[in-house]
Amino acid sequence: MLSIKHHLVAYGQSTIIQDLNLDVQKNEIVAVVGRNGMGKTTLMKSLIGMTPTKGGEVTLDGTDLSSLKSFQRVRAGLGFVPQGRMIFPTLTVRENIETGLAAVGEKKVPEDLYEMFPVLKEMQNRRGGNLSGGQQQQLAIARALATRPKVLLLDEPTEGIQPNIIKEIAQTLRRIRDERGLSIVVSEQVLSFVMDAADRILVIEKGAIVHEESRAEADQEKIASYLAV
């Protein structure tokens, strides 16, 4: 579905992502884990086009994304939930979702989105900035889903979220995958969440994938060792 080849990102003289290769299958949830500063967020931002790429190739369902701008990537089928949610604080919940709809030329918020996140329907006229962290996270996911993506990118969706809600988010991701048949790439450093949500786990360190295994046979201890100091 999503294929990343020889991905290279650098700021000035320092290279952040180095020759990264990754294939995401249809209907697959891939987790990229690693500590802060290892390049997770840079990877995500460069995939959506927020950060310029120095080299390599990214294709989505056969479409080459490499030369596209962010909004074109979204229209090509990439959805993005950024670190820190970045909802539009002074727009209402409904308006936030509608910004996503605009990309695909729709006007009305589809019912199935509200079904998936009933709390958003309840609060559709509240300003985004007044929601709690967990609700904002749901809003950010709903906003991304409104663009009808084929691949959904989530950057540290658990950051700053209470542990009990983290579990919910993991379930939501699986549900989205099952109901909508899309692929998900999520970057994380909370191991329990990764174990709950992902089909395949990749460890990123200094901008390169250093370890990979499927969840079924994942060696938790080993992954945890990458996450520790």
């Binding site: 927020m50 701008k69 909004f71 950024p82 970045m86 604080p89 727009l91 910004t99 605009a102 695909v104």
Partner: protein, 308 residues
């Protein structure tokens, strides 16, 4: 100061003065709305705003000439066509300018100031070359001239009322566009978080161009309206620029409501002071008061307070 006037005369005068304030208010609103969009929403300091207004005025001038020559029967209604044309022409030029120049400067607001100042010089000289250095006289249809007598003392100028109506319509239109339309949502999303707006599929470059064009188009409408009360010459636009910026900044750059509130405050202050002082001193005092308040409250009247 009021010796020898009857109370009814005084009442009428205050009514008239109130109207004068309102008509100044509508002028300020028209001047400032386009700039409020461009400066407040995009952070671009468009020093050529006045020249865009005058482009609208020249458009009106040409339209009136065209109607006089070819469609004299429809002359009474030419003004509406002129306003639409002014909006379209200024908007188109705005889009072109955005594409050629402004889009390269979004992260350098002070540089937009210099570049658009250069643009204003070019536009002024272009007007001078095309229309001549003299001011042009714009003929108004008969129905726009004169005043409606309300009482013996109080007359309401029709063109003043008309400018008010235009100002009001433009303000309402801008409000609906910014807060009730899909476009407005996109603009607000881009203003709040440009990269994120891109990442939900909004073409922020396109939004920028449309927004700049919209601001210039509104300047064009303002210019068309001002042919009724002001002069149309190559450098007439410069007269507006300081006032316009002060109105926008005083209102709190991000807030359209703030712009309207500040236009109201400044216009009332000025017209009240004009009645008791000479015109020059009223102007100086108004500017000083505005500067003074801005020093105490640099974020303007209606700034959004958000957690940083």
């Amino acid at each position: 100061m009021f010796d020898g006037y009857t109370s009814s005369e005084l009442m009428s005068i205050f009514a008239m003065q109130g109207f004068a304030g309102l008509s100044l208010f509508s002028v300020f609103v028209l001047m400032a709305l386009g700039l409020a969009i461009i400066f407040g929403q995009m952070g671009v300091i468009n020093m050529a705003h006045g020249e865009f207004m005058i482009l609208g005025a020249y458009t009106t001038y040409l339209t009136s000439g065209f109607f006089q020559s070819y469609l004299p029967g429809l002359f009474g209604g030419y003004f509406f066509i002129a306003m639409i044309l002014a909006f379209l022409i200024c908007g188109a030029l705005g889009a072109l300018v955005e594409w050629l120049m402004i889009r390269h400067l979004y992260h350098r607001p002070l540089d937009t100031l210099l570049a658009t100042w250069g643009l204003s010089l070019i536009m002024q000289q272009a007007y001078r070359s095309i229309f001549g250095a003299r001011e042009v006289g714009v003929d108004l249809p008969e129905w726009m001239m004169g005043a409606i007598p309300v009482t013996e003392m109080v007359d309401l100028p029709i063109n003043g009322l008309f400018v008010m109506v235009i100002a009001l319509s433009v303000a309402v239109g801008v409000y609906l566009l910014m807060y009730r339309s899909g476009y407005g949502k996109k603009v607000r999303a881009v203003v709040q978080n440009r990269p994120m707006a891109e990442a939900v599929g909004i073409n922020s470059a396109g939004i920028d161009r449309a927004t700049f064009a919209l601001g210039c188009g509104i300047a064009g409408i303002a210019g068309a309206a001002f042919t009724m009360i002001g002069s149309t010459g190559p450098s007439s636009g410069q007269a507006y620029i300081v006032d316009t910026f002060l109105v926008v900044v005083f209102g709190g750059a991000q807030s359209l409501i703030g712009t309207i509130v500040s236009a109201f405050g400044i216009s009332q202050a000025q017209s009240t002071m004009e009645f008791f002082l000479s015109g020059s001193m009223a102007k100086v005092l108004t500017l000083l008061v505005v500067i003074g308040i801005l020093m105490i409250r640099p974020e303007g009247l209606m700034a959004l307070k958000v957690r940083r």
